[in-house]
Symmetry: C2
Subunit: 165 residues, 2 copies
Amino acid sequence: MTATPPPAAQENTEENWLRLDSQICFSLHAASRAFNGVYRVILKELGLTYPQYLVLLVLWEHGELPVKKLGEHLRLDSGTLSPLLKRLESAGLVRRERSSRDERSVEIRLTEEGTALRRRALRVPRRIVAATGFGLDEIQELREHLDQLTSALDAAALEGAPEHD
Amino acid sequence: MTATPPPAAQENTEENWLRLDSQICFSLHAASRAFNGVYRVILKELGLTYPQYLVLLVLWEHGELPVKKLGEHLRLDSGTLSPLLKRLESAGLVRRERSSRDERSVEIRLTEEGTALRRRALRVPRRIVAATGFGLDEIQELREHLDQLTSALDAAALEGAPEHD
DNA sequence: AGCCATTTAGTTGTGCACAACTGAGTTGTG
DNA sequence: CACAACTCAGTTGTGCACAACTAAATGGCT
């Protein structure tokens, strides 16, 4: 029962596609979580989670931003960012202030403490890269593939799921 | 203020490392979520989430398994799996039964319905691969890089964070 | 047998991702 | 001006990831 009839290795069966899918699924899922795990360990010293670190990276680079812009940089919506930013605020790293020019929007800006944290964060990337065991060029190459993947997937996602074969 | 002093492009400064880090961070994080998003859309028709699909992939391939083994395949612990499996059970796709040989362990096995769902799931991978816009060999290559990354990161994570420079 | 370390699931609590919704503020149009 | 459409942040609810813990069962040891 549950047969899984012998799928004859290299044949182009749906069975084999499913097997391949499980492999790439697992790989990406696992890589993402492994990456997350290494950051978790390292960022713990800074009192940050990985997504919080991503937010700070954007703020360190761009200075003050409304929540909307922050979300565009990170592809995250207010449902994720609002509570995260509150936590960063209560940690004393950012302030949230209603824009006076547009009362709908909230400007996120770094506090002194948030700005200062950048100094300590400078030591993070080197350790991450070391943990991957990859060279810089390998990382760049992987990054390009991932970006390619992301834009292809984003484009496909926009079409909902209207096609089937 | 917040200077970000001109980091002179290709120099090996911490500034540049941080910039690179933000790039690879964003890329992997975004790729993972984009992938997740495409699966979300497609799996919705099957009434599954992405992690639930991963669990079923393992069960379809290996048949009945204790929670522990399932967790090893997926690198997930009982804190994640227990509630997930309960949801799969109440969806009628799996059953959870205490092993009689070892009362500590719980065997997860597919119901008729869970087994039958495989037929419908066979159409998923083809659509995913199509969505990536990648060829099979590119996918395999990417997968190998990701696996390499994962094992390097896992190894590094085991050492906690004892080293710095 | 009694005791202790280990193994296995499960629970609790925190944080993120995302869909669906709310509500205030803004803009366009008649 | 009035009103509809839209924008933006926030809230709610569901599900996953993971750390820390609990509780029961097992196996080794004396």
